[in-house]
Amino acid sequence: MKAVHEPNHDSSDELLDRALQATLAQPAPHDVRQRVIETAAAWSHGTTPGHPQQRGRFALPVRLTTGHFATARTVRAVLSNFRGRGRLGLAAAAAFVATVAGILWLSHPNASWAQVAEALRTKPWSLGKYTTPDGEVHEDWLSFSRDVSAHRHGDSVQFSDHRLNVTYEYNAKERTLTRHLDPQADHKKRADRWFEKVFHQISRGAEQLDFAASDVELVEQTRGPATKHGRTWLSYELVIRVVDADVVDPKPIVRLTLLVDPQTRLPHYLVMSDPNMNPPSIEMEVSYPETGPIDIYDLGIPRDAELVDLVPTDDIRRVISEIKSSAERFEEHLALNVMSDALSPWYVGTPFAVWRKGTSYRMVYGVVDAASVSTRTPKSDADQRQWWKSRWTELFQVPHEICDGSTYWNNEGLPAGWSDQPNKPNPITWRRATWPQPKWKSRPERHPWPAGSSPLFIAYPQNLVNFSAFRWKPVLDLTPADGPANTVKVILRTGTTGSSSGEERYWIDAQRSHMVARYESVTWDATNSPPVEVVNLSQVVETADRSPQGIWYPTLIRHISVTEQTGVKKTIETITRHYLDFDVKFTDDLFKPAERPGEPLE
């Protein structure tokens, strides 16, 4: 470990140096570090064989440009409901107990829905309170009748209107009030569904609980009387193991104890324990006040706080909704796609086939066998689609990605020496005899979308189809000064202080089913002052066609990327041609990692 002492060190530095030493002395979690490294190291493999969305040739891994990280965050966010991580975990636990309170209400035995509704009206608020080891009091408010919730501890205040899917957060330091879409909405819904199912069964006295959840499993559950503060309560104890694949072994085990009033069936205490949580155990007391905060200002926020509004405008929502609609309506198809250098004739390139049905897809590359390279020059009037279909049978096929709508498989089987050549020429050529058998790696897929492997990926990109207002700040330009005619421009911005930041620009053709007609990925080179804009990738749809249902899709896309090697900028231009077939019929077996000799285009 490097000494932290500087020259001219005096005694007044001692506390600072001790603090630095203390920080350095905390052992890093080696298992997590290893997982992060292994995941990132595999990104370069994820590019293989290349696909047309990449910057230059074989640059960006497929999953990076789509929802991979969003998915990881989704999983972690949901897990935080169970496991917690410092204060975030406590907040999640607070949200959890509010959920539990509501569910137990809803599952009140022998109550009709009308009685439940009446009960909700008579108990308009629940308030969960807990104290952290530093003495700080956390409050969680929930109103079913108003469908709002709030959290407060110290200067940190958050208020959510669930009907509007809007959350307000106050930053005391900057005296700003940020309004944004609730980033946890999907996670909460998923967790709510799970809890609702579990507690509904408990309230009905089921002996065996049905736990059809991918992330958690019930280890043990008991029910019986318990005494606290001189009262007898009905105690529910659940022991839950978090089994999600993204969680490092050993899988965490969380113990939940609910103390319920046997008369009213309302919960009054929740104890949540996990030795890995900080603190390892928390107890929340739940009460049911008659009044509560109806907006964030009722929680003490100054009314002159500056409002920062990140909620997309109605115009942006409408455009995104149209894009999503087109993507979802796009019919099942087989796309034969060919990636070529810009100066190459249409028959020189790397083909890749994509079968797509709903949220399921299969992507396979065609690779030239280096041991028997054969080049063919088609007749001048040859049908390009038919020629490539025929050519496909002369290549050997490498399946790359498969998704059945809920599970994603990636083929990590690569030949030795593959990574030594980062920019591979088109067509991809390799010795078939040395190409290994597929080595599939799977993970749950929450937002399936044919990533980078289909013209749909560019025409209806994941960033817009599964738009996350939390991650992106969208800007809509209805009359852009640049880009193709008759388009509107949507800019998605991201970025954090001092790190590389950038934006994604989409020119959307509203007259052609809101297809993206042009795309740019831009970063700012922060090594210059002021930072210089760098367009790393642009994609322009040059020709397009319509599906049988009238949804537009690209048939030729030009990709221009800028790379820099040894200080010299280099522009790489490629073209992908897309031949789509909507008449093909295929079964769901196609979307499993089963071998399909020759990967026939049918």
Partner: protein
């Protein structure tokens, strides 16, 4: 240009450790480093980088400081003065508190000072490496480091902490 996998395996662990030291939280460190690596991966395809180790640590530090600030950490300690003795029975707890206090204090520094200090002490980089990574002079690094240390010493003092905890 070195291949991505070797860059990650060579320099990724130190970037992770740097973020971990700054954040002291597994989930945050994991997410921050993933994002930093994603930034670096983009750059890998776009330009030549002389010092991948420095760049990765810089990206990790920037994001970690952002994350620390987002947490809106409230100073979580008692008003008990920090003892200079390390052989007390509760020494380990005190050391953890010290580390947490330092993290809180770093969030209060200006960007450059926070970054330079973090790279120097938590990222274990030399002043020359920091200067090269940030594209500033070695003198500017020294100045930022000196200012950061001065401010941190002040913020870590008991008087400051006690004052800060006084309700407004």
């Amino acid at each position: 240009m070195p291949d991505w996998e070797s860059i990650v395996r060579t320099h990724g662990p130190m970037a992770f450790d740097t973020a971990w030291r700054l954040l002291g939280n597994v989930a945050d460190a994991e997410e921050v480093v993933q994002d930093a690596l994603m930034d670096a991966f983009r750059l890998h395809s776009q330009r030549t980088v002389d010092n991948w180790g420095g760049l990765l640590r810089r990206l990790a530090v920037c994001r970690a400081i952002d994350r620390l600030r987002t947490r809106q950490l409230v100073q979580p300690f008692t008003d008990e003065p920090m003892s200079a003795e390390s052989d007390r029975p509760d020494a380990a707890a005190i050391e953890r508190e010290l580390a947490e206090r330092l993290r809180w204090a770093i969030t209060k520094l200006p960007d450059r000072e926070a970054g330079v200090l973090s790279l120097r002490y938590l990222g274990e980089m030399t002043s020359a490496e920091i200067a090269n990574t940030l594209g500033i002079s070695a003198g500017a690094v020294g100045t930022a480091l000196c200012k950061a240390r001065t401010k941190l010493k002040e913020m870590l003092s008991v008087e400051t902490m006690t004052h800060r905890r006084t309700p407004e």
